[in-house]
Symmetry: C2
Subunit: 439 residues, 2 copies
């Protein structure tokens, strides 16, 4: 099977019209996908579907970057690409001229993620397995070869990675059965978006408690009185036995973060997410030291495995929130999962976006079955909207993600959704369509 071409789509959902997805920094997101389909010469018509996630304007820049970078896989046999995925990843992230635009960060890395996600999707489809199963059936020595260890060797070597995977190899079938039976624990972000009024948050929390949810996340940041009031409200509604996380979405300076977290700490915070700039590794270490035992969480803007390495070396994050579209494909995610396992820090992937739940369920199953072999302090983010646009949407029951069975990486958009939400010419974006949604 050879990759013969590709096409790229700019797909946007008008989520800013409802306030869903809003936080202290991202005030009006339109959840969007820069979406790529890899075409093949396979007589059965196999295609690979991948995307990167953005929040609206600028999605066209990611689409342009995907168009520039995807040429690098056209003409290759799938087997050439999958034979050495670390090298395939470098083909995209270390192109001699384009690496100037990063390296391995921002638009160019988001574009590499979309393409690598599509390659992995195609690989899993061709093996007739869901992506998590493709990984967890792999021998440890083959799994290690998916990882680009560049710039990681002062913290994790291939030999250490192999040893960690080997340790879990014999018991993996038990964990696979457990997951098929029980699913992976989830938490919901859909109760506490920044743009919701207090009574809407209270109503949503009550419904979620009744549905069996145990972890709740609230957006905080701009106004200290509002934050204290809402944190108290949610803590009161969920009681002492459930978990409350807050998310500041990078709004604070380092000294301000320390002050604000200390103000909220009495409400028993499970974690504080993105207290300051995602680039401030040293700032994270300073905040973590000052607010311990409160733990920090970060990852949705952590640009690559090299920044994760530092946060994990310092143990300045207590929760590691890998993002399936910020990192360059499941191989780079695996690098971070391995480093987190070495550091003893739980990986709780970021999924606050369209299609991210569909991706990260695979990553969570891989982490539990093959990498960390632990569910302690793990919970996978869940947002409830927009799943209906995927051919194989996630299934969450009783606060747990159910194991996906369809071959691939669950990334394929329904054709009708793709056409309706295509930007700017889809019907969702027509002037006379106030809600914009597909009916």
């Amino acid at each position: 099977m050879r990759i013969t071409g590709f096409h790229v789509e700019d797909v946007r959902f008008p989520t800013s019209r409802s306030g869903a997805g809003s936080d202290a920094v991202n005030v009006d997101p339109d959840y969007s996908l820069a979406y790529v389909v890899l075409e093949t010469d396979d007589p059965l018509g196999y295609t690979g579907h991948g995307f990167t996630f953005t929040i609206g304007r600028g999605n066209e820049v990611c689409a342009a970057a995907i168009r520039s970078l995807a040429e690098r896989v056209v003409g290759s046999r799938l087997s050439e690409l999958t034979h050495d995925m670390a090298e395939t990843s470098r083909r995209l992230t270390n192109e001699s001229q384009m690496r100037w635009l990063g390296p391995e960060k921002g638009v160019i890395h988001l574009a590499a993620a979309a393409i690598l996600n599509a390659v992995y999707d195609l690989w899993a489809r061709s093996e007739k397995k869901p992506l998590w199963k493709l990984f967890t059936d792999m021998r440890p020595q083959d799994m290690v070869r998916l990882v680009d260890f560049r710039y990681l060797l002062d913290f994790l070597t291939p030999d250490e990675a192999l040893e960690m995977l080997d340790r879990n190899w014999r018991s993996r079938a038990d964990r696979e059965r457990e997951m098929l039976d029980q699913g992976y624990p989830a938490y919901t972000t859909s109760v506490g978006w920044y743009g919701y009024p207090d009574d809407e948050i209270r109503r949503r929390v009550d419904v979620a408690v009744a549905e069996g949810w145990t972890h709740f996340k609230l957006k905080v940041g701009r106004n200290v009185e509002q934050d204290v009031r809402r944190v108290a409200l949610v803590r009161d509604a969920i009681g002492a036995g459930r978990y409350l996380m807050v998310d500041a979405n990078q709004i604070w300076e380092v000294p301000e973060a320390i002050d604000r977290i200390q103000t909220l700490a009495p409400y028993d915070l499970y974690w504080v997410e993105e207290p300051t700039s995602p680039d401030d590794v040293r700032g994270y270490a300073a905040i973590a030291a000052a607010v311990a035992p409160v733990k920090l969480a970060a990852g949705e803007h952590t640009q690559n495995r090299i920044v994760f390495k530092q946060l994990l070396q310092d143990r300045s994050i207590g929760f590691c929130q890998v993002d399936a579209c910020r990192l360059a494909g499941p191989g780079e995610v695996l690098a971070v999962q391995l480093m987190a396992a070495k550091a003893g820090i739980p990986v709780c992937p970021h999924a606050g976006g369209v299609g991210l739940p569909e991706y990260v369920q695979h990553l969570a199953f891989i982490d539990y079955i093959a990498v960390s072999a632990s569910l302690k302090d793990r919970a996978l983010e869940y947002v409830e909207h927009l799943h209906e646009h995927f051919v194989h949407p996630v299934h969450v029951r009783g606060g747990r993600y159910q194991v996906p069975a369809a071959p691939g990486y669950s990334a394929e958009l329904r054709r009708a959704s793709l056409e309706h939400y295509r930007f700017p010419d889809g019907e969702a974006w027509a002037r006379d369509n106030p809600s914009g949604h597909l009916t």
Copy 2:
């Protein structure tokens, strides 16, 4: 004066055909500009010219990002933009949806740099001053207002910045006269590109010594024997009294960097540039501690002021190499210059690229006259090629940059050059044009 529109050009010079500009990582750069012209309604026809620098493929992605972002200044009066440049900068770097693509890094930040460089160029032209003079004539309280202090407050506050600028205010005329008289010390990178054979390096070093150069930079990295041989060769040619820097362009892992630098240290290295990933703040600190008193230098890939802050807080770099196109305009450069002055670390801007010498000369004059007031351990990079394409090229005499006099930020390309090197349709890129150069 109001900004009424803009146009964007993709301009590329086929430098990879000669090996100039090559190093251990960037093996075949085609020096390129994603170039923007801001148009105005001014009856005198004022325009603002700005660019970001890349090394070839991917320049079209930066051009696309500039097109998406430049809309944010169209329709504004120049005076509205210059009244609060920190806010104007945030208008571009903190756009509520596009910040997801960074924030403040990679393509989207390179695009913001091009646009802000053009706004500053327009501002200086409208004041009929070269950019350095626009800055150094400004009262300290106005200069501080150019800086976006976001995420810097744990290291530098506006009050501290004001105090530093105030301290140099009364003596600035002396330093301005000194610069007009003597110019700013330069060093040359044109002797030691990675792609040059040993005898070509020897020949170039001998010529440069005869011309009066005192600082010499050599590209190193892949092969330890070759590095030792070339470092010895250059040290032998320049003698003990001149300065030798080496540049590894990110090629090493952290432990490998320590080992390799210790091997080269006996040849008396003035600095070691980019030993590892530019994202590895913690790695830089580890290398710096291990190889002291050898000093590290970095900046051409340092993504923004927040990463510079950390390198300066830790003093893990001994030389701060700001880049006029990697950082979002002279305002963000000023933020870094102020932090470096606070840390007592010299700023030696990166200029290894087309148009970068034209930009950084202004930044160096600003640093000396208004910010650090010191020339100790300062030298400004110089590469000798491609100056002929600018309307107001740099003038270097006797190893010193001469003060530019023309209004603006020296960024305007000659029309014939722009048309000849426009990609992909300019004559330079025609199939039957083997050297590609304008004659």
